[in-house]
Structure formats: C-alpha cells, structure tokens
C-alpha cells in the first residue's frame, strides 16, 4: 500500500469538502498551497463561467482535475424528462472535458418505482457512452449508500454498478467504470470481493475517503473527517490498491454542522494530517 505521506501529490480535494465558501479561484489556490496534487470541482462552481480560464488556473497551480461532480439524475417521471436529463448530462460531460477532467461522476437518482428507475439508468448510460468517448471522458458510476435509495440513487451496491458496466460493455472497459466512496460501500459484506472484481476489470475510476460517524445526525450532510468514525479506511484503501488502483485518493466530506463552518485552511490542514495518519 502506498504511504500517503510520500504521495500527497496523489491526494485530491473534492471542493464540496470546503463547503463552497469561496470562489473557485481561491479554492484552487488554497488546495495547491496545502500540497495536494488534485482537485475535483462541482458544476455549480464552473457552469456559466469561463471554463477554459478555470482549467488554466488549475493547470497553472500544478493540480490535476480528478473528477467533475456530478450528473443530473437520469430517471424521469416522463420520457421527455428522461431525455432532457440525457441532454443535460451530455453538456456536463463536454464541460468536464473542457475542464481537463478524465472522469465525469454519475450519481444517478431514483424513483418511487425503483425497478423502473434502474431500467432508465441502464438505458441512459447507454445513450451517454458515445458522447463520452468522443469527449475523451470516462463515466464513473457511483454506487450510493442504501440510505439514499429513495431519491439520490437506485444504484446501491458495488456489485450492481459493476453488473451494469458488464452489461453495457461486455467486452471490457472503454468508457464506463465505478467510483468507490468509502462512505457508500464500507457496510457491504461483499465489498472486498467486489473491489477485487472491479480491479480485474480495470473499472476503478476513483476512490473517495471520509468517515461514517457513529452518531450520524444526518446521513446526507453529517459525514465525518477520516479517523473520526468507524470506517476501516486502511483496509479499504489496501483492497483498492491491491486490486491495481494507482489513482488519486480524494477526500469528499459533506458536513453542514462541522467542517463547512470552519475555515478552508483549517479543513485542508486537517485533511492533510489525516491522509497521512489514518487513511
């Protein structure tokens, strides 16, 4: 397993971790100043702005864009809504390319009829693959914790995400892979086997770290800093790296009541320390 003390250049900061307190230019500067090698911005920080200029700022700061968050939910109540989401996601994939991101993150959404939602996700991903290929952007399907199954994601396990990858790309990976976030997968009794499977198919497109607090007050916006919760971070990182993953370790923490209230500097310093000590 890599020693992250020697690989801070392979650690990345997902900007949501900093609570969107400052314009993207300041966030880029702060992330680079703390020694990280990567950054993963959100659409709200980028869309409608000078994307090429932001891409240049990121490059000039010596940072790699490790992901672009995230898809518009794919399932729709009507066919038109579904098709509109596909168009919207195509535009976002083009923005990801312009920003210099190799990866577009897919959080797929859900419906009351979860079986129908799952069918729409498979169809929708199929409709996005050619566009993603033409833009040179890979699609990182993120299985979400089952607590979000009613609204944020009908894809709830790594096995299910990999099954969809295999269904759409039976001859192996070209455009589609998975994003593994410890918050979403740590509880899964099948996780070690599925990480190995993902690695064998070279389908691991990203690895997110944070922690599950024992006293989680809000499953959406009360994530913990690495080391403050129950997740076996080193066990999961070891599994991912043994499966062949050599990409970035990206921190992503949604924390309305705690980290988002702190300064960017304090959060980034803590992330750096915890990357080395417990991740």
């Amino acid at each position: 397993m890599r020693n992250l003390a020697d690989h801070l250049n392979m650690c990345s900061v997902n900007t949501a971790t900093l609570g969107f307190q400052a314009p993207i230019a300041e966030v880029i500067e702060a992330v680079a100043r703390h020694g990280f090698g990567g950054i993963a911005p959100w659409r709200r920080e980028i869309e409608g702005q000078d994307v090429s200029g932001i891409a240049k700022k990121i490059r000039d700061a010596g940072l790699k864009v490790t992901g672009f968050c995230r898809s518009t939910y794919i399932p729709g109540a009507t066919r038109d809504a579904f098709l509109a989401s596909i168009d919207d996601n195509k535009r976002a994939i083009s923005t990801a390319a312009k920003l210099g991101s190799d990866v577009f993150v897919l959080v797929v959404g859900s419906l009351k009829d979860i079986a129908a939602a799952r069918r729409m996700v498979v169809e929708g991903l199929g409709l996005l693959l050619d566009h993603a290929a033409s833009e040179g952007v890979k699609l990182a399907l993120e299985p979400l914790h089952p607590v979000y199954a009613a609204d944020r994601s009908c894809i709830t396990t790594t096995a299910q995400a990999l099954d969809i990858c295999d269904q759409l790309e039976p001859s192996g990976m070209k455009q589609l892979g998975v994003l593994l976030d410890v918050y979403h997968i740590w509880w899964d009794p099948d996780v070690q086997r599925q990480i190995k499977r993902a690695g064998q198919g070279s389908r691991i497109l990203g690895f997110h770290v944070n922690d599950w607090l024992l006293e989680t007050k809000d499953p959406l916006n009360d994530r913990g800093m690495m080391g403050d919760g129950v997740i076996d971070l080193q066990g999961l990182r070891r599994a991912v790296e043994q499966a062949g993953y050599r990409g970035f370790v990206e921190v992503e923490i949604f924390s309305q009541a705690d980290w988002w209230k702190r300064s960017m500097n304090e959060t980034l310093e803590t992330v750096r320390a915890r990357m080395v000590s417990v991740t």
Copy 2:
C-alpha cells in the same frame, strides 16, 4: 398472493408500532379487538412480569405470538461481554418459549471493527442453537438496513444472513432462519433472488411491513405507515409468498413524531385498512 382482506387472522401487530403507551394487557385486548390474529411483544413489556399469565392472556384473546423482540447485541468489546450477551440471550429465548413464541428475533449489533463483530455473531449464534432447540424456539436473524451498520447490525443484507444460516446449518434449517422486514431489504438490487433462495431453504421465519418515507427525518424512528412511502410492498409480499411463505404479515413501525403520538385505536384502524388496501 393471499388477499389480506380475507386473512386478517394472518396479520400481526408488533407492539412497538403502538409506542408502548399502555400496559401489555391493554395492548393485547386492543390488537384482538381490531381483528388481527397475531401479536409480537417486546422484552421490555414482558421481562420481570408474570410471563405465563401474559401468555394465557394472549391465548385467551385468540392471538398467536408471532415473534419476541429482540436479542441483546452479540458482539462485545471483551470476551466476558460477549459471553454475558450469550447468557442473556439464552434467558430471553427461554422467555420466548414461555410466552408461546415459536421465534426469537435477532438484531445482532455491531462494533467499530465490523469484521470482528461479524465473526462474533457467527460464533454467538453457534452457541445459541442448542439452547434454542431445547426450548423449541427458532432464531430469526434479521438483516438490518445498512444505515445501522455502525451500531445496530453488522448483518446488512439478506444474502449475508442466509450465508450465515448455511454456514451454521449446512444440511438445512433446524433452528436458524431469517426475518425479512421490507424497511431493511427494499433497496437491495439482489432482494428478489435472495427471497427465492430463503424460501428454497424454508428459512423465512417472519415478514415485517411498514414503509420508507421519501423525506425520512430519522432513519431509526421515522418509519412510515404502509402506503405512505416508496416501498413496493405488494411486490415484496408476492415474492415472499411465491417463495413458499405462509406465515404472518406483521406490521412494525417506529414513528416517534407521528404514529406513536396517536391513540392505539387510530393506529390499529389505519394498520387494518392499509393491510387490505396497499400491503
């Protein structure tokens, strides 16, 4: 699939649904008066009381005890704590027998080291089987929703629960099976296949209904009444019955801010109506 309008005698009320507002004698009377055929009490209502007398009251009311809730968490921080929980669970299994319950419900607990917790659960169940057999009580292992993986249950999927059953009873069911609660399993992309598997092994010892509210405020105590949420109740009941299950359909709703504030009568009337209309 059974028409529950004709099978209210095969519908049961888990007493937690009524918020523990009244002594067990009143609860028994109310459940019977509303036409249900079963009741599933909790230890807090029974332990330290005249168990045989309560058992007689339940029988006299024409009710069947469909389950007894629930186990003391099995994993312990020390070996002594682990062994104490086994002893405690043996006593509770004896109480279940005295109460006339064929089934003792196992909610197994967890630890920060979830892998260690899982090993202790398997060992602990092994230590309980002989005692359960001698008392004539089956052990219903309940996989819990992954949102509880840090504290309430290291067993998070139906597949995992069935794997443990197969490991401990490789030649088929004698004492160990699963309790399937829609709240805990509805999100699982593998659920239909695992229900079928559970049925083939005759391991389905209970079926709980309620609903997952789209706007869940608290994953522990904000469960919905059947029909108020997103769960495909009829799809799951159909699968369970097609897998051979002919036992009770038991309602279990934890609802601090809503149903527990209503009268027992209002809740029981609503349960009866929703059993027939949407379950």
